[in-house]
């Protein structure tokens, strides 16, 4: 059963940006990663799902209800984490969470206390005085504490330290095993990779692809920076079939799509000093999709 459905959704802003003819759906119990660089239209889509904005064309539904007109009913079953968190700044963390509970008429606070403990949040501090990461924790707790069926999470791990990021990913996986449906946006592939079943890639407001995480992984292009002992080794690699990028002294960049076997066997005959994965932008990771899109735009 489709929990979230997006049908021909179009919303254009005055500056020409927006989202155009989006079509996708998220099934029950699925974690859907919504991936795209900043400004691609991720938040615009989520605003539509939350019923904040009117669409120009098309529509979206959650649990079969129209996101704009049935927002009140939908919100009973949705946990939402905004991309830019703005609270009632004069409240403390706990006051805010209790306020949201009161707005939701939620009486049960077990999940809230459990999450406060889990994310090691000091809830007595004024929100105004909190760091970005602490605010993010408050946002996550507010989104999860009423145990909803559906989660809509906009860049959920931004601002969290690596330990808390892992903690969060664990939470998502637990919720998934409890049959919850999740859509989460991100501009970092690694974060989506560890939780999602399917991934939608968006660029310039258009959905470039919706694919199974495994097929995406196998077609991913990764760049390794290999440091070798001698310059001769570089000559050896140059002779192989591997795709070679910049060479800097005894360091060479090698791009791999799925030919890991080639890569390893070539390297095995060289003396390797070190291997690093190059941090790449999303465009570079998804060269395959973005490349096509780029050509179409020209």
């Amino acid at each position: 059963m489709d929990i979230i459905r997006v049908d021909g959704l179009t919303k254009t802003y005055r500056n020409g940006k927006g989202i155009f003819d989006l079509d996708f759906s998220v099934k029950e119990g699925e974690v859907f990663g919504y991936l795209g660089p900043n400004g691609a239209g991720k938040t615009t889509t989520i605003r539509q799902l939350m019923g904040f904005t009117n669409a120009d064309k098309g529509n979206c539904t959650i649990l079969g209800l129209d996101c704009r007109s049935a927002a009140e009913e939908i919100q009973r079953h949705v946990g939402y984490l905004p991309g830019e968190i703005a609270f009632f700044e004069s409240m403390t963390g706990l006051e805010f969470l209790e306020f949201i509970n009161a707005m939701r008429k939620t009486k049960n606070t077990t999940m809230m206390s459990h999450l406060i403990e889990r994310f090691e949040l000091d809830p007595t501090r004024k929100i105004r005085k909190m760091s970005k990461g602490m605010k993010q924790k408050v946002g996550i707790i507010a989104a999860f504490m009423h145990d909803p069926k559906v989660y809509i999470l906009d860049e959920p791990t931004s601002g969290l330290d690596p330990l808390m990021q892992r903690n969060f990913i664990q939470l998502i996986n637990e919720e998934k095993s409890r049959g919850k449906t999740v859509i989460m946006s991100s501009h970092i592939f690694e974060e989506i990779e560890r939780t999602s079943d399917r991934v939608g890639v968006i660029r310039d407001g258009r959905l470039v692809t919706v694919e199974d995480i495994h097929s995406i992984k196998s077609s991913l292009r990764r760049v390794f920076v290999v440091t070798l002992e001698t310059v001769e080794d570089i000559e050896h690699i140059k002779k192989s079939n591997l795709e070679i990028g910049a060479i800097n002294g005894r360091q060479v960049e090698i791009a791999i799509n799925s030919n890991y076997q080639d890569f390893i066997s070539t390297l095995s005959s060289c003396s390797v000093v070190g291997i690093d994965i190059l941090d790449q932008s999303l465009e570079q990771v998804f060269m395959k999709y973005y490349g096509e899109g780029g050509n179409r735009n020209e």
Partner: protein, 266 residues
């Protein structure tokens, strides 16, 4: 109406209402204590030394002879307009536009409460806070007058005067609320929400100041508060009240309807 949100509003905004009420009460108490049927001549002499235009602009021209007319002219032409106006400008902006601009509105709307319910709660809060200010003024005015000059205050006239002023502020707060609801940016919401009431206020002073530009009185709703006429039992007062009430109803309803329909930049 959502009780939790109403309470949160109260928690976040009570201080400025209390400050406004304290300042207003301070002026009121001073004004009442300065009333003295005998020495009112002295006050007239003092006012004569001020520029004539300034005196008329502030509505101090006719001091009247009773405590009620004296208060009507000294207080309800200027102070009872200026301070509630400051409150209304700040509060109407904070209740809607600020939440939209900062993004905290996203949290309110992510709870199972319709947009209509959220924005109507904010309207009800603004209306009841403005009403509280004037209720306080009525009680404080009657109490203080009674303590200092027992029997001097025309209680009925005084209540009517406050009622008309309250209606004017329901209209003004409605206008502020309307602008707070329709703009994405607090900059515009505050610009119009403050600009229009201030323009009304300045036009009111101009209309009082000179006969040759008294036609500007048709462009401000504050001229509908005319203490001398209200206290004299003018037949126009009920009409003025009806006009103010209609403006208030239209502005609040307009703000709520637009907010309910529009796209929010959250």
């Amino acid at each position: 109406m959502n009780k939790a949100l109403f309470k949160a509003n109260l928690k976040g905004n009570w201080l400025i209402a209390v400050i406004i009420m304290s300042v207003m009460y301070m002026y009121l108490a001073v004004m009442i204590s300065m009333f003295d049927p005998e020495s009112i001549e002295g006050l007239r002499e003092m006012i004569k030394m001020l520029p004539k235009e300034l005196v008329s602009a502030m509505g101090f021209e006719d001091l009247g002879t009773s405590l009620t007319t004296y208060l009507g002219n000294m207080y309800y032409n200027f102070i009872a307009i200026m301070f509630p106006m400051i409150y209304v400008i700040i509060a109407s902006n904070r209740l809607v536009a600020k939440h939209v601009d900062s993004g905290s509105m996203a949290y309110l709307l992510s709870t199972p409460n319709s947009r209509l319910k959220i924005v109507a709660t904010q309207a009800i809060y603004l209306i009841s806070s403005v009403a509280s200010i004037f209720l306080f003024l009525i009680l404080a005015g009657i109490g203080t007058s009674h303590a200092m000059f027992p029997g001097e205050l025309d209680t009925q006239g005084f209540i009517l005067l406050n009622l008309v002023t309250l209606l004017a502020f329901l209209a003004i707060s409605g206008i502020g609320f309307f602008f707070s609801c329709i703009f994405d940016d607090t900059k515009y919401a505050l610009g119009f929400g403050a600009g229009v009431p201030i323009a009304f206020f300045v036009l009111n002073m101009l209309a009082n100041a000179g006969d040759n530009i008294s036609w500007v009185r048709f462009f401000t709703i504050f001229t509908l508060i005319n203490p001398a006429e209200i206290l004299a039992g003018s037949a126009f007062t009920p009409i003025a009240m009806l006009i103010l009430l209609s403006i208030a109803a239209l502005a609040y309803a307009g703000g709520i309807i637009v907010f309910n329909r529009r796209s929010l930049p959250l």
